[in-house]
């Protein structure tokens, strides 16, 4: 079952090595963790369940019911009881029962050095589990929520023994060896010590895994109660997570990296689509231009005659177009002189390709003249140029107006 493209996977101990379950599919066994990891898909989020022998499990009765206070008290308690400095340990706890002013808790502690060694094959392959829990907690999660159950299952050459009370893991210990002799020889003593710690020992049921089937007869004889099979192990219900903070940071960083990679990939795809779209648009535009040019080229011969006639008329314009006559230009220039006569023309030259009028007057008069000439429809056959005026004495200027046929 995939969630957001990620496949959940469970990795836990079996009788001689490790067992992998990917997305609820059939479980696979592997002799080493490295081989178990190899069986996992690249996008799997791995929850690692540790065997009992890798974790120190203790029960404590503490005078508080507040979880934060309990955590502080346990901090002090573990500093006294653990064989490692607390900063080198990943630990957690579960509240088993609470009275008016006290709580019974079970603590789990795993040495980080041991976790480093255990998970080295996994981390060498760039994989970090999303959560580290305990196989015994998965066993507890498979048991009913009422009654006291004794559970036994093999873990990597040892037999794990757990007491599950009202669906919670109340106690767990590994027993060296796998055979009935080894287990049934050690079990009474362990259960007695558990009972002395206050763990309930009046079992309503015994559950053993399929691999530990050879213990069934001995257990029935010893306890006189029926022995059931442990079913498929679900995820641990307890919130315990022994994942070291540095690994969590590594995991977060990896998740950020994955998100960034995904976002970059999406951005890259969008960018490529945009680029492809832009180039597609250019190709379409070019094609359209070529098509319009072809249409124009195809039309041209039909109008070649008219073009020739127009060109002939245009070349003869200086003699046939009254607007191009010298008198017409002179008339327009004289008509544009302001009424106050604050300017006058000093010279005028005329040719088929250009005429130039020079004059003197005030800046305002020059401005008025140029404005009127530019607005004159009769001169629209000429492009007018008015270079900057040259100042004279008495606030007057000399100026030039040039007209060139368009």
């Amino acid at each position: 079952m995939k969630q957001n493209g990620v496949t959940p996977a469970l990795l836990g101990p079996d009788a001689h090595g490790w067992r992998v379950s990917v997305g609820g599919a059939a479980e696979q066994s592997a002799p080493t963790l490295g081989e178990a990891i190899a069986a996992l898909p690249a996008n799997a989020d791995v929850e690692l369940a540790l065997p009992c022998q890798s974790v120190l499990i203790e029960r404590h009765k503490l005078p508080s019911t507040d979880r934060t206070e309990l955590a502080d008290m346990l901090q002090l308690q573990l500093e006294k009881t653990l064989p490692y400095p607390l900063e080198d340990v990943s630990h957690g706890f579960e509240i088993l029962s609470q009275g008016e002013n006290e709580s019974t808790v079970i603590t789990f502690a795993a040495s980080r050095a041991q976790l480093d060694t255990l998970c080295a094959p996994m981390r060498e392959k760039g994989r970090v589990p999303v959560r580290i829990t305990l196989q015994a907690l998965r066993v507890a999660a498979s048991c009913p929520d009422t009654g006291t159950i004794l559970a036994l299952w093999p873990e990597q050459g040892q037999t794990a023994c757990a007491i599950v009370s009202d669906g919670k893991l109340a106690w767990a210990q590994p027993i060296p060896g796998l055979g009935p002799d080894a287990v049934l020889g050690e079990l009474p003593g362990l259960l007695l010590s558990a009972e002395l710690q206050g763990v309930p020992a009046d079992f309503s049921e015994i559950r053993i895994s399929e691999e530990a089937g050879d213990l069934a007869d001995g257990l029935v004889q010893h306890f006189g109660i029926p022995v059931e099979k442990l079913g498929a192990l679900p995820r641990a219900k307890a919130a315990l997570d022994l994942l070291p903070p540095a690994w969590q940071a590594e995991l977060r960083s990896r998740a950020r990296g994955d998100t960034l990679r995904q976002n970059l990939l999406v951005a890259g795809v969008i960018w490529l689509v945009l680029i492809a779209g832009a180039f597609g648009y250019l190709a379409w535009l070019k094609n359209r231009v070529q098509s319009v040019e072809r249409e124009h080229n195809a039309m041209k011969p039909r109008y070649a005659g008219i073009e020739k006639q127009m060109a002939r008329w245009e070349s003869l314009a200086p003699v046939i177009e009254p607007k191009r006559y010298i008198t017409e230009v002179l008339h327009r220039l004289i008509s544009a002189i302001p009424e106050d006569k604050s300017m006058f023309f000093t010279s005028f030259s005329f040719g088929p390709r250009e005429w130039v009028a020079k004059g003197e007057g005030t800046t305002d008069a020059r401005f008025a003249l140029v404005t009127k000439l530019k607005a004159d429809k009769e001169l629209d056959g000429f492009e007018l140029y008015t270079p900057p005026e040259q100042p004279l004495k008495d606030d007057k200027v000399t100026f030039t107006v040039t007209g060139k046929p368009k």
């Binding site: 319009v292 040019e293 124009h296 008219i306 009254p322 006559y325 010298i326």
Partner: protein, 178 residues
């Protein structure tokens, strides 16, 4: 991927900056390429479309231009003997000048010049007269069926008497090409 994983933070920062700079530059050049090409193609398309529209408009003017061309064929003078033509032209100009009390001096007849679309035969004068006289002289010289161009004209106002003008004129008659 391993190469990146083995990098320290500073190397990763440097790599990120380099990648960003490359991506920004690449985008800059791609956008520039796209915009400039789009502008060129859009302009080309608009210009060609205008040319097509102009040609389509020409269709409605076909008769007009045919009539104009026929008119030119009919009315444009044909140059026979250039000396005779030159003399006739000088005399006609002098007559018009006399009519408008414009004095023409130093006539300098030219020789026929073959130009694309016409043959030009000109004469150069120095002219003196009043504003009105010179203006009316020029007005009478040119007309749609006279095929006369003023190819060079320098008019200067007499500084001492602003009612008088001095002009250097090159008057040219255009004939149909042979």
């Amino acid at each position: 991927m391993n190469l990146v994983a083995n990098m320290n933070k500073r190397e990763k920062t440097l790599l990120s900056i380099t990648a960003i700079v490359i991506v920004v530059l690449l985008n800059f050049f791609l956008i520039k390429f796209f915009l400039s090409n789009r502008a060129v193609l859009t302009q080309k398309l608009a210009m060609t479309q205008v040319k097509i529209d102009t040609l389509k408009k020409r269709e409605t003017e076909r008769n007009l231009w045919a009539k104009r061309d026929a008119l030119l064929d009919e009315k444009m003078p044909v140059l026979g003997d250039s000396d005779v033509a030159s003399k006739e032209m000088r005399e006609a100009i002098l007559e018009i000048a006399k009519k408008h009390t414009v004095t023409l001096e130093a006539p300098a007849p030219g020789t026929p010049v073959n130009l694309p679309g016409h043959i030009a035969l000109g004469v150069k004068f120095d002219a003196k007269g009043t504003w009105d006289g010179v203006f009316n002289f020029l007005l009478e010289l040119q007309g749609p069926e006279k095929f006369t161009a003023i190819e060079g004209c320098e008019i200067k106002v007499n500084r001492e008497d602003k009612t008088q003008l001095r002009a250097t004129l090159t008057i040219v008659r255009w004939y149909a090409p042979k």
